[in-house]
Symmetry: C2
Subunit: 380 residues, 2 copies
């Protein structure tokens, strides 16, 4: 028998385990996407057919929702919901929770339609945003082209249609949840979380859009409402509720979800400034030009040099490339990026420790551990 | 013994019965209002307190929803829901369904916030509309008062806040439903109806706001979606579902609700043109100046004289009083008003016949019969 260095052996086994867990997670993610996409495609086809009976304009609005939803996105919320369902002992094939994952995707479409209208964003998921689709339909429709009043009327219609497209997606989110074949008592608890998330994210959006920059001491609170509650905690609690998790189990999952939600959002901040545009699909330095007061900016402006460089770019959509590059370098040199990276690692560590304490199936715990890596170490 | 004319006796008894039924209905309506208002006041207080922790802007948005909801309205949808609950054998004090009635009021606040923003209406329920409240907060907030870009920024913020206030009310509608202490399977079926209603009313709004006048052959379909489904059918089906009504019972209630919904909407059309402004709280001829293609207008324009008079007023907010009065008289003289009144009476009759066929508690059936009168013979 060949003597084995125990340390080496442990390392090799660990690494094998990690690789296997990673593969298991990736195939789980792929399965969730297939289920959710299949549910969305067939369910939305029926919705759009119903809309067709209500005239061409309703069809265009309904189809814009369908297009945005089917164009993709990472389906990350649906994945977290499915992991939580499995980890809490939920049974059956993944199809069982597909209508709930789909509901989260529809809720996301609702928020994106309203956000893109508020922010004036024309591109979303590599295609026209909902407001851009609505302008193509309603903005140019006026017969009296060129007159101010007619332009205003077209604009008014496309504004209204953008908001209504979002409203329709929200109604459909509720509709999809109610297609679940899980015990109604569990569905009701999951819906309660959905309603809470919806109220949180809307209030976060109020802070984000309506609160003037000067008053934004509480901007972090707004971010926590928008991302923390909505992207991580909400889907996890919903999945666990659908599996019939007890209140103490839910509590321990919330203790896990909260640091993960903040870490996720900090990774978003890093990618929004330092991300590779060819991977993220978003322009380099985009957050700066939009004037977003991210965690990076809040940290960096304490450094006078970085503050000066940032002032030339923050909130200026037309900032030139060299000023943008200098501002990005200024954040790096101020040490803000390193500190945010440290904080992400520390929050991810806290999430993993909470995960150890939670009562979950072993397979579910591994999936969650991989999800932590995927959410906090991603590059897009 | 004094001989009694049997016909007279029957008439007297009928009339006594009617008066008693009317009093019973009125006291039922008053009870529902008390329960729903009490629930809304205390539940919304908690919501606004939560919002307060999220900063002053979130508080203003949340409080605008609260103000609009508590300012009243007829609570008609909550009443119909409660009647359907009772008539379908639902048990307990009326408080049991108050969270569902409150949810309908919150859904109404959501639609009003979005509608008033789309239509540019500044007054609602005798006070400032949500967009007017948002403009008071955000529209004048800019430091660079008077410059075009700052005005645009304030306007943008108050537009966004109006939409978000509506979104918040929608999230709260779901939240209130989930406070019901009724069996979750029943709540789930009621929520399914709520989701259906929400999708219908949003699609009706698309027809109403986005479809150009010239294409509005299907305007009636839009009205049916907005009023028929939402105001009458939805609340009735929800109330019956909460009482555990069977599918055949639901079917017979829908057969009753559908003609009633159309009759209700036709009464709205009549009041919007011929109503006494001091009673309706809406300006005389208001529908005409807004350019609404009501059933009255669709009928009257077949008469050349009425069409000519209407063309001076339709869609003209600044139409003068004498032209408005002439257009109103033109509708009357064309016979359109009489025909619409006939149609209301015929639809109310059909609703009452369907009511006889439905399996309901005797007390519930009387309440519904009085509701038909209240909804189709109202003067406001």
């Amino acid at each position: 028998m060949v003597p084995v260095n125990p340390a080496f052996s442990a390392t090799r086994d660990d690494s094998d385990d990690r690789a296997r867990d990673r593969r298991t997670f990736e195939s789980f993610v792929a399965d969730v996407r297939v289920c959710v996409d299949a549910w969305l495609a067939s369910w939305l086809d029926v919705r759009v057919s119903e809309a067709r009976r209500r005239g061409p304009d309703v069809t265009v609005v309904a189809d814009a929702v369908r297009q945005l939803v089917l164009r993709g996105g990472k389906r990350m919320r649906a994945v977290l919901l499915a992991v939580a369902y499995r980890a809490s002992g939920g049974e059956g094939a993944l199809d069982v929770v597909a209508p709930a994952g789909a509901a989260l995707e529809l809720l996301q479409a609702y928020l994106l339609a309203h956000d893109d209208w508020m922010d004036g964003d024309d591109v979303r998921r590599g295609g026209p945003s909902v407001p851009a689709m609505m302008r193509a339909r309603f903005g140019g429709e006026s017969l009296e082209r060129g007159s101010r009043s007619s332009t205003t009327r077209g604009q008014h219609r496309s504004d209204a249609a953008s908001v209504l497209a979002g409203d329709l997606a929200a109604a459909w989110a509720l509709g999809s949840m109610l297609e679940l074949t899980i015990a109604p008592a569990r569905v009701a608890l999951a819906l309660k979380e959905l309603g809470r998330v919806e109220a949180d994210v809307v209030q976060g959006q109020v802070v984000d859009v309506c609160t003037a920059s000067a008053d934004r001491a509480d901007v972090e609170a707004g971010y926590a409402l928008k991302t923390g509650s909505y992207t991580v905690r909400g889907p996890i609690v919903m999945g666990a509720r659908l599996a019939g998790a007890s209140d103490p189990q839910i509590e321990s999952l919330i203790a896990f979800a909260e640091p993960l939600g903040v870490a996720f959002q900090l990774r978003d901040d890093v990618l929004g400034t330092f991300g590779d545009a060819t991977v993220t699909g978003k322009p380099s330095g985009g957050d700066l030009k939009k004037g977003k007061r991210t965690a990076l900016v809040v940290d960096a402006v304490r450094d006078p040099r970085a503050r000066e460089l940032l002032s030339r770019v923050m909130g200026r959509a037309d900032a030139n490339d060299s000023d943008t590059a200098a501002a990005i370098a200024g954040i790096e040199e101020s040490g803000a990026r390193a500190r945010v990276e440290e904080r992400i690692a520390s929050l991810a560590g806290r999430a993993l420790r909470e995960l150890e304490r939670a009562r979950l199936t072993p397979a579910g715990r591994s999936l969650f551990a991989e999800a932590v890596v995927a959410l906090t170490e991603r590059d897009r």
